[in-house]
Amino acid sequence: MLEALWDRRALLVSGKGGVGKTTLSAALAVAAARSGRSVLLVEMAPDEGGPSALGALVGARDVGPKVTRVRPGLSFVRLAASEGHRRFLQDTLPLRWLAEAALRSRALRRFLEAGPALREMGLLYQMLALLRRTRPDGRFEYPLSIIDLPATGHALAIAALPRTVLALMPGGPIGRSVQEGLDFLQDPARSAVLLTSLPEPLPVSEALALASELERLELPLTAAVLNRMPEDPFTPESHAAVQRLLATHGPHQGARALARLERARAARARLAAGLQVPLLTLPELPVTGPELVERLAEVFTPRELAEPTREAAP
């Protein structure tokens, strides 16, 4: 179901906070790397401090604005606005000394840190620079990037940014590079947005709202992933029989899990009905952290690609 995704240059993993977006991003990247692809896993957090949840999941020791290789085929980077600013100034300003002097100015650094849209702009610019980077043979250095979008209340703040910036400053170097970023993000041949949710009423409502927001922003929503679907050991008949028994004889152990399962089923049905794209359901697994990443990666690994790679391994 996800085959179509692997040919894109950028996979943007979106979703409200708490739905397992970061774990899914890591699992997708591990799956892509296992299938023999060269993949860059990107953390696009609006803040630069604190521990990196995404980096920890793939065992990245060095979390910073420099790309680090974490295993064969898999590299990790945490985008930093300051790094984007540096590149931007170097690429844009006509004189090298001017860019260097600008970078040394504390006032300018502070301004770039907090000025309207400049932080997000820095993140976007660093991302674009990584996407553009080529090897000596002319091929892309990172043919596939998987981007864990920020988990703020407005999960799409960064995706929505290009439009806001363009409305504010249509011309000039910032306007031009933001336009380039927007063209990239909106191009369904190069980008795909993956929507993640949980099988609970509120997350599904939020996911549906996010889907219409994506449409409004003309971003190519390509697939949705429903994470942590609880196990369903019933047949329709046995479920009905148990409901009758519980209604007569009162709650027993397992009632909480049953209520949760029933909520999950209803939520999944509502999500599937409300979306125009394929919906992949992932089972709830009794593991967490890096172990969960590896298990989910198995679900994602493209089979037809995985086989030859395994044979080629020593």
Binding site: L89, L98, R110, S205, S238, L245, G254, L258
Partner: protein, 374 residues
């Protein structure tokens, strides 16, 4: 540590700040704690940002309004005698808070208009990192001076790291720092020596190069219009910081069993302590840690005779019961480990998983009672 302590916090504190990543149920927890405190007799304001619509409905809250809304006493005390407490709720509108602040701080109504009607300002809340957070702190500062409220429960904007809330206003006020602004302000500024003028000329060239001359000019008039307001803004930020560091305040981290709870919790505690802010503990939300003494599903079999569907159903329910036990066990372990990292006086409380029932006010009352039994 017991839930008793959370009750004490609700009784004694002036400000309760709830931090946490997005999606952990922070808003619901803030609402439930506000309900519990008001039912215990205090005059409470819950300040929230972007609540889920159904929660807003359950609280009887318009989606946003210019002033706090009072929860009708007949709803607050639906199940018993009417108490003396009161609950107001305000869904924060950052734009409104900002407009008010500018009108209050600007030297003249014309100066305020020059900012508020500026094209860049209209994009401000979309563009400047930290506007929501800044608006929250600004609103909090205003309400702390308001005699109407004895306790303010602040539901901070969602962020990846629980403490982003504290840093964002700082970033914004650094941007609005006088020295930075005067660099970008209208070039006529006569202050400073040659070095300063040199810096200004450099910034001018950089801005023209980066933004294009047109937008750079626009930005300058905008930033220039802000000069004069900074004293007030900085004063607020510092006053609020002092208040949040006082024993009147308490910071709680809301976390869920699913998120990387332990790591996040330790980071939160350390950062607060480092900054001299009063760390009050953790709320482990949507927890199944609570024991309920129910019979095993197999007991149902005595009511079943020769019904393969019912037998299959009971076996399936037994599987779910096993999952449920494992989940409850892991949540209990997590709670114990959270409690292990607590400094004296702090609490670690589990909030029961309320499922879908929080769509009505009664659900908030039950959650509040479970969190802080009186």
């Amino acid at each position: 540590m017991s839930a008793r302590s959370l009750h004490q916090l609700l009784r004694d504190k002036r400000v309760l700040v709830l931090c946490g990543a997005g999606g952990v149920g922070k808003t619901t927890t803030a609402a439930a704690l506000g309900v519990a405190a008001a039912r215990a007799g205090r005059r409470v304001l819950v300040l929230t940002i972007d609540p889920a619509r159904r929660l807003a409905e359950a609280m009887g809250l318009p989606e946003s309004g210019p002033e706090p809304t009072t929860v009708p006493p007949e709803r607050l005390f639906a199940d018993g005698p009417r108490g003396t407490g009161r609950l107001d709720v305000w869904m924060l509108d950052p734009r409104l808070v900002f407009d008010r602040m500018i009108h209050r701080l600007a030297p003249s109504p014309e100066a305020a208009r020059a900012i508020v009607e500026h094209r860049v300002y209209r994009f401000l809340s979309d563009l400047v990192a930290g506007v929501q957070e800044y608006a929250a702190t600004e609103a909090l500062d205003g309400f702390l001076a308001d005699e109407r409220y004895e306790l303010i429960v602040l539901d901070t904007p969602p962020s990846r790291h629980a403490l982003d809330f504290l840093d964002a206003p700082g970033r914004l006020s650094r941007f609005l720092d006088e020295r930075v602004v005067s660099l970008f302000g209208p070039e006529s500024s006569s202050r400073g020596g040659r070095l300063w003028q040199g810096a200004q000329a450099l910034v001018g060239r950089v801005l023209d190069g980066v933004f294009g001359a047109g937008h750079a000019r626009e930005m300058r008039t905008f930033v220039g219009a802000f000069s004069g307001l900074f004293g007030g803004i900085r004063l607020h930020t510092e006053r609020l910081r002092a208040r949040l560091a006082s024993p009147d305040a308490a910071f709680l981290l809301v976390t869920s069993p699913e998120s990387a709870a332990l790591r996040e919790a330790a980071f939160f505690r350390d950062t607060l302590v480092e900054r001299g802010l009063p760390f009050a503990g953790y709320v482990l939300n949507r927890s199944w840690a609570r024991e309920d003494a129910l019979a095993h599903p197999e007991a149902l079999l005595e009511h079943v005779s020769d019904d393969p569907h019912a037998e299959h159903g009971v076996a399936a329910l037994s599987r779910l019961a096993a999952t449920e036990r494992a989940r409850a066990e892991s949540h209990r372990t997590l709670l114990v480990r959270l409690a292990e990292q607590l400094p004296t006086g702090a609490v670690a409380v589990a909030a029961p998983d309320a499922g879908a029932e929080l769509e009505e006010f009664g659900g908030l009352v039950r959650l509040g009672d479970a969190l802080a039994p009186g």
